[in-house]
Symmetry: C2
Subunit: 299 residues, 2 copies
Amino acid sequence: MKTYIGIDLGGTNVRVAKIDEDGNVLAQVKGPSYGQEGPARVMANIKEMVRELPGWKECAGMGVGVPGPVDTQAGTMVLSTNLPGFAGYPFAEELRKEFGMPAYLDNDANVAGLAEALVGAGKGLRNVFYTTISTGIGGVLVFDGKTVSGKHGFGGEVANIIIDRNREKVNYLNVGAIENEASGTGLMRKYEQRKGEKIAHTGIVFDRAEQGEEIAKACVEEFQRDLGQYFATIACVCDPEMFILGGGMMKSADKFLPGIIEQYKAMSHTAIEDTPFVLASLEEPGIIGAAMLPKSNGQ
Amino acid sequence: MKTYIGIDLGGTNVRVAKIDEDGNVLAQVKGPSYGQEGPARVMANIKEMVRELPGWKECAGMGVGVPGPVDTQAGTMVLSTNLPGFAGYPFAEELRKEFGMPAYLDNDANVAGLAEALVGAGKGLRNVFYTTISTGIGGVLVFDGKTVSGKHGFGGEVANIIIDRNREKVNYLNVGAIENEASGTGLMRKYEQRKGEKIAHTGIVFDRAEQGEEIAKACVEEFQRDLGQYFATIACVCDPEMFILGGGMMKSADKFLPGIIEQYKAMSHTAIEDTPFVLASLEEPGIIGAAMLPKSNGQ
């Protein structure tokens, strides 16, 4: 069975693993990423970690997931807010030269979606759309085993999709952008504003809605309606065989997902109402998806 | 050079052509489709027309574009409003058996997009999004030379995307669906309502807006804003290398397209502002795209 090297690089930590083509993690090394110290330090560290993996030379290729949009053809980051100095840096090329094997780069949400599509909840399907809902909202279409990362790496950067023009301007995103309206951060902001009270986490909103509190109920209904419309919009574009949902909010999925699906159906043609909404199944989609990048590219 | 058979089937007319892999039409037969008389008559007619093409036996495969959503894996129509009796009919299979060559079926807007992506305005690009704006609005993502037709054939059935929740309920589509708000039909409906006057075609609205009429100006601005938001939404999902625009409305593109692009930029991240908006370049994308289906499927 083929094996690959996956690298999950964040601003603070990095994980490097040897993973087989079914997504089994065979060996893993973790450590600080030195992400604030610039490419030279980060790359030297990664190279050392790769060499700590037993049998790394037998791997058929390597892939890296990074925080931010990626030019997947060039193998470079487009923006690198959390990894200063990496925008335009020849990341994949450097790994390719260093290790003498194919190397690929993609966005961390995209590789998580790739993992779920290839060896997770969407295994065996041709066309799946992955959405992660936590403090932010991201996603990716995986078609024919490949992430649709797009010209500028903004494929699946769904945060900025306008869901309702008549909302408040919150930040640099569009007025009514789905991330501001229906991420965990968005839900908390709106509830706190309306209730006039700070809360510790979004679970409180769902609990209070269940207990019948009107403000919480209204917030949860709006959250469900907004996300229902979001998924209906995605379906109009690519009609996936499955919606896969990941991210921290999914811990409370039983409290809100049925309502999202109901709204999705209300805004969709009858013929596409049966598209399943399935929770992400992998514990470590980030590192597994990074390792799937060479496989996804035919290695 | 490889050649293919393309079939462009409508409710009223049908065209059958022999086309080379660069999209050149080598021979063509046209006639009535007998679309209201059911599959037996329609298929017998098509088979006869294929045999009229000189050298049809040398073709490497055949493709059919039909009006309505298609299950491309099964080679069947999902709905067939304009072709009674064809929903679920084993269309591709019957052609495959009859002619002993690979046969494929897809939606007519999708094959037009495929033609533009493979041999038209998007030639050589990996990821293009085609939108047709006429009486209705349709589209399709073409990725890696394949249409993303989706699980139920609703990929690119963008008409139902909600662009503004606070609009009037018009028909079975969602309130604020892009097709009702920014198709030719939608633009005319809104102008006629506000002006209290029937007009012959949408060109009149653009002309009157240029002449400074306030109602026409407001309608055109809304049309541009709605379509700008639509394209910004598409970009968030798949970040195409190019937007290709087809359909009858494009005859007046010089009067409204710059305004759409301006709105698109206003609702998009700076990094993706440069995505080009290009008019469709083929005169007969429907028949050419049908013939490209076997090529797109590796034949």
